[in-house]
C-alpha cells in the first residue's frame, strides 16, 4: 500500500525558506507569485492491506516523528 503524508507549517509561523524562494521566483520573473510556503511530503510504502490500520499507524508516525506538531500540521492520504 502506498501512502503520502504532507506536513505543512501552521498559519502564522514564519517560513524563512518560503520567503527566500518567493523572492527568487519573483526575481526570476515568474509571473503572479504572491507568496510561497514550503512543506514536506513523505511517500511511504506500507505492508498489509488494512487501510484503517495504516492510517492509524501513519498518524502515530506524524505525531511521533514526521511532523513537529508545535508548529506543523499534517495530512495522511492512503493511496492504492
Amino acid at each position: 500500500m502506498k501512502a503520502r503524508v504532507t506536513v505543512t507549517l501552521k498559519t502564522g509561523v514564519l517560513d524563512p525558506q518560503g520567503k527566500a524562494i518567493e523572492g527568487a521566483l519573483k526575481s526570476l520573473g515568474i509571473e503572479g507569485v504572491e507568496s510561497v510556503r514550503q512543506g514536506k511530503v513523505f511517500d511511504i510504502e506500507l505492508a498489509g492491506a488494512d487501510r484503517a490500520r495504516a492510517e492509524d499507524a501513519l498518524k502515530a508516525a506524524c505525531e511521533k516523528l514526521l511532523a513537529n506538531t508545535v508548529i506543523e500540521n499534517f495530512r495522511v492520504e492512503i493511496g492504492g
Binding site: 524563512p16 525558506q17 527566500a20 524562494i21 527568487a24 526570476l28 514550503q38
Partner: protein, 234 residues
C-alpha cells in the same frame, strides 16, 4: 593572478577565501556582488566562497546558482577561465550546471565540522600542481550537505576521465569506510570540469593556511593557482 570572490546574500567564508588568496598572491581579491552582471575586467580566477547563500533554503546553492553573476561565471568558464567553488561554492557550481551531480544531505544527517584528511587524486591541474598524486593533506570540513551523488554514468565518466580532484581518507591515506564523513559516492571530496578549469570541493583549503590555526596543507591549492598564472604570464 587577478581573483574575484563572488558574494551572495548569505555567503560567509568570503573573507576566509580572501585571506588565503592574499596570503598566496600578495593581492587582495575583488569582491563581486551577486546582482552584478559582469566580472571585473581581466579576472583570471573566480572564487565562489563557502556559506549559506540564501540560507541554503530550497536546496543548497539552488537560488545562488541562478543569480545574475552566474551567467558571467559560466561565460568565464566557457572561455577556459578558472573557477573554484568551495563548500557552498561547490553546491552552487553543481546547481548552475557547471559541474555534474548533486550534493545531498550528509549520510548521518548532521552538520559536521572537523579536520579531515584528503588524498590528492590529480596534481597536473592549475589547482593542484603544488601537491603530488597520492599526497595526504589535512584540511577542514564544515557542511551539512556534502554527500556527493551522481548517476552511475556520470560517476563512471568522472572516474574514467580522471576528474576526481580529492577523496576523503584517513591520516594514513586509507580511502573509504569511516574516513568518509558524509557518504559521498566513491569518497569524492572534489571534482573537476571536463576542461579541468572548474574545481568544486566541499573541504575548506582556505581555512588551513596558518600553522597557528590547524596547519598549512591548504596553502598548496592557492600556491598552485599563483604558479599557474605566473607561468602563463611568463
Amino acid at each position: 593572478m587577478k581573483a574575484a570572490v563572488v558574494i551572495f546574500p548569505g555567503s560567509n567564508r568570503e573573507r576566509d577565501a580572501g585571506r588565503a588568496l592574499r596570503d598566496a598572491s600578495g593581492h587582495e581579491p575583488h569582491y563581486v556582488w551577486h546582482a552584478d552582471h559582469e566580472l571585473p575586467r581581466g579576472t583570471d580566477l573566480v572564487v565562489l566562497p563557502g556559506g549559506f547563500s540564501y540560507g541554503d533554503y530550497l536546496r543548497c546553492g539552488a537560488i545562488a546558482g541562478r543569480a545574475n553573476i552566474m551567467d558571467a561565471v559560466r561565460a568565464h568558464a566557457a572561455r577556459g577561465g578558472l573557477v573554484l567553488g568551495v563548500c557552498n561554492g561547490f553546491q552552487i557550481l553543481v546547481e548552475s550546471g557547471l559541474l555534474p551531480g548533486v550534493l545531498m544531505r550528509n549520510a548521518q544527517l548532521r552538520f559536521v565540522c572537523k579536520m579531515q584528511h584528503l588524498k590528492v587524486d590529480r596534481a597536473d591541474t592549475p589547482f593542484a600542481s603544488a601537491y603530488h598524486v597520492g599526497q595526504v593533506i589535512k584540511v577542514a570540513i564544515a557542511h551539512g550537505e556534502g554527500n556527493y551523488v551522481a548517476d552511475e554514468d556520470t560517476i563512471d565518466r568522472l572516474e574514467h576521465e580522471g576528474r576526481v580532484a580529492f577523496r576523503y581518507c584517513d591520516a594514513d591515506g586509507h580511502v573509504g569506510g569511516s574516513a568518509n564523513p558524509n557518504g559521498s559516492l566513491h569518497d569524492i571530496a572534489g571534482i573537476y570540469s571536463a576542461g579541468f578549469n572548474v574545481l568544486g570541493m566541499m573541504p575548506h583549503p582556505e581555512n588551513l593556511i596558518d600553522p597557528l590555526v590547524g596547519g598549512t596543507d591548504g596553502r598548496g591549492l592557492f600556491a598552485s593557482l599563483v604558479d599557474h598564472f605566473a607561468a602563463t604570464a611568463a
